[in-house]
């Protein structure tokens, strides 16, 4: 089943006199349950592509069908709604709310989908358990280690039962051992709960956890191949 269908997407930033073309005519499809790594040097357009896939940005031209819905023309609030219930984000810098407990951070997406307080708490606690942070519900985000913070972020990404997780350099701020743990958690969510994971990274080690690697250079897809597991 096709989850993401990108057709001929172009993104041009009107920077001064010379417009900057970040993406030109990118087309690809992603099946439900895939685990994809997007790679490329900086300035290759991979981040722009992620932002468009994550409904944070809109393409200048082309179409983006997410779960059969063309989202390339939707307004801010409709995009927010799609992010809320279809997409989970995991960022390099964790992006948790400071001076807020782990549980409250995980509750955040549900605050915007009108889920009653009691159910919010239960689901947030369950999500924290899934990522192995049982018992740390009341810790403030700044009291947690980097790896734990990233786990909270993953719990936040899955708590609203989003079918897709976008992970933008999720291990960029973590040491090797913690990186491996986080990647294994993502693999587990991908295989166990059949959540589609799309990962942006420039580390081949991290990309090796995926099953399909797409490489970007100068705003174009230059390679798109399955990872051969040894």
């Amino acid at each position: 089943m096709v989850l993401i269908d990108v057709r001929d997407i172009t993104k041009i930033y009107p920077l001064g006199d010379i417009p900057l073309t970040a993406l030109s005519n990118v087309s690809l499809t992603v099946e439900k349950g895939e685990f994809i790594a997007i790679m490329g040097p900086s300035g290759s357009g991979k981040s722009t592509f992620m932002n468009i896939l994550g409904c944070l940005d809109k393409p200048t031209s082309g179409n983006y069908l997410l779960d059969g819905v063309d989202v390339s023309t939707l307004d801010r609030d409709l995009l927010a709604e799609i992010r809320n219930n279809k997409i989970g984000f995991v960022f390099q810098g964790f992006n948790l709310l400071r001076r807020t407990t782990a549980l409250e951070n995980v509750e955040l997406p549900m605050l915007y989908s009108g889920i009653p307080a009691k159910e919010r708490k239960e689901r947030a606690a369950a999500a924290l358990k899934t990522v192995g942070l049982e018992g740390r519900e009341d810790h403030y985000s700044n009291q947690l280690s980097g790896g734990q913070q990233q786990r909270v972020a993953i719990a936040r990404a899955i708590v609203n039962r989003a079918p897709i997780i976008f992970a933008d350099e999720p291990t960029g701020n973590l040491d090797t051992k913690t990186s491996a743990e986080i990647m294994e958690l993502l693999v587990e969510l991908n295989t166990g709960s059949s959540i589609t994971v799309i990962l942006v990274t420039h580390e081949p080690d991290i990309a090796a956890y995926s099953r399909r690697v797409i490489k970007f250079i100068d705003g174009r897809v230059v390679s798109d191949e399955a990872v051969v597991k040894s």
Partner: protein, 409 residues
């Protein structure tokens, strides 16, 4: 879908996180609301005191003064020529339909002796109608009657100040006092009235029948002449009609030709007092307006802090947008924060303002009245300030681009 309870919860939480900043922001509103309430209380208190004085003087009051004499080309002051008589009093009572009561005043200062104590007070010769004109009840005893006036009997009604100075704990009723050495029987005590608008002690007075004053105490240049007349019109609407009728009647009675000036003056005291009341009203408004400026400044303080807060929390806004906050979710969050600051500030300000008014009353002795209206007004105004000055920062926050906001350091 906007979830109001959780928006409120989010807002309260972020205010709690920045306690110091929130309370300093609130301080602006606290001072503003407090100042508005205290100032309005002072103004309202002053107005109330003036209205009390107006009613203590007697309402719908006209005073008729005799005319001035001319001596060698120099015109003397009003009241120097005795032109008013008891006959005029009776005529006005009978013939002016707009007049409710009219009473003569023939007065002077005199020494009063009771036992071994003496006191000097204003002695007013008048008729029983005086108590009606001045709306002045007795606290004890009985008023003198028309028979007392006809018979020029030596009876007296004492004001509270006179009673306090001469009698102390003794019941004055039935006692004999001497006014200019003439013995008078005390038949009644006037209720306490307090200060006049001019600051005179109205209770430092003695009422006796006008005829007694004319014949036995102060004498008259011509028989039957009196110093002034006090008139009570039937209602405030009748005041000008009463004035017109009196002028017409007195000109006729005094045989004044069409081109000649009046030999008397009619003064509308109520009107003068109403002007004073008006000016206090203006003063109250002015005080309130000045205080409102501080409320406005407090509002600008809120806007300032909210703008800083939006910038400082750009990343938080980005995170919220990324997980699905819509335009109005963000807008409402910041609006509710501003509104909470201003409303809590408003409540504390009301408490401070009311205490400020009480302290002013206690320390400076100013009459202050905190009206419910001023409290409601100040509270709703602070709410309005919160929404008004909170909207721009909230609007700004909601327009942030989620990608830029997430990258913001």
């Amino acid at each position: 879908m906007i979830n109001i309870p959780s928006t409120v919860k989010i807002s309260l939480k972020s205010l709690m996180v920045n306690k110091m900043r929130s309370s300093l922001t609130m301080l602006g509103i606290i001072i503003g609301v407090g100042a508005v309430i205290t100032m309005l209380a002072v103004g309202t208190g002053a107005r109330q005191r003036i209205s009390e004085q107006i009613s203590s003087m007697g309402s719908n009051l006209l005073i008729i003064l005799p005319g001035s004499t001319t001596s060698g080309g120099a015109r003397m002051g009003a009241g120097t020529q005795p032109t008013l008589s008891l006959g005029d009093v009776e005529a006005i009572q009978k013939e002016c339909p707009a007049v409710a009561f009219v009473a003569p005043v023939h007065n002077g200062a005199a020494q009063i002796i009771y036992g071994n104590l003496n006191w000097s007070a204003g002695v007013v010769g008048t008729t029983p109608a005086m108590l009606e004109v001045r709306d002045w009840p007795l606290s004890a005893g009985r008023p003198f009657t028309d028979d007392d006036v006809r018979g020029a009997t030596k009876v007296a009604l004492l004001g509270q100040t006179v009673v306090n100075n001469l009698f102390g704990a003794v019941d004055p009723l039935g006692q004999i006092i001497r006014i200019k050495n003439i013995p008078f029987t005390v038949i009644g005590v006037l209720d306490s009235k307090g200060q006049s608008p001019q600051g005179q002690d109205q209770d430092d007075t003695i009422y006796i029948p006008v005829t007694t004053a004319q014949k036995k105490l102060f004498g008259t240049a011509f028989p039957g002449m009196i110093r002034i007349m006090m008139v009570k019109a039937k209602s405030s609407d009748d005041l000008s009609a009463a004035e017109r009728q009196i002028v017409e009647l007195l000109r006729q009675r005094h045989h004044i030709a069409a081109k000649q000036d009046d030999d008397f003056t009619v003064r509308n005291l109520t009107q003068i007092m109403q002007t004073a009341e008006q000016s206090t009203k203006v003063m109250t408004l002015l005080l309130g307006a000045i205080a409102s400026v501080s409320l406005l400044v407090g509002g600008i303080g809120i806007m300032n802090i909210m703008l800083v807060s939006v910038t400082e929390r750009t990343r938080e806004i980005g995170i919220r947008m990324a997980v699905g906050a819509k335009t109005w979710d963000i807008r409402l969050q910041f609006l509710v924060e501003a509104l909470t600051l201003s409303l809590i500030g408003g409540i504390i300000g009301i408490i401070m303002g009311v205490s400020g008014a009480l302290i002013l009353s206690a320390l400076a002795g100013w009459p202050t009245i905190v009206s419910l209206l001023s409290v409601l007004m100040a509270f709703s105004f602070s709410g309005f300030v919160g929404i008004f000055f909170g909207f721009y920062p909230a609007y700004k926050a909601s327009l942030l681009d989620p990608i830029d906001a997430l990258r913001y350091e």
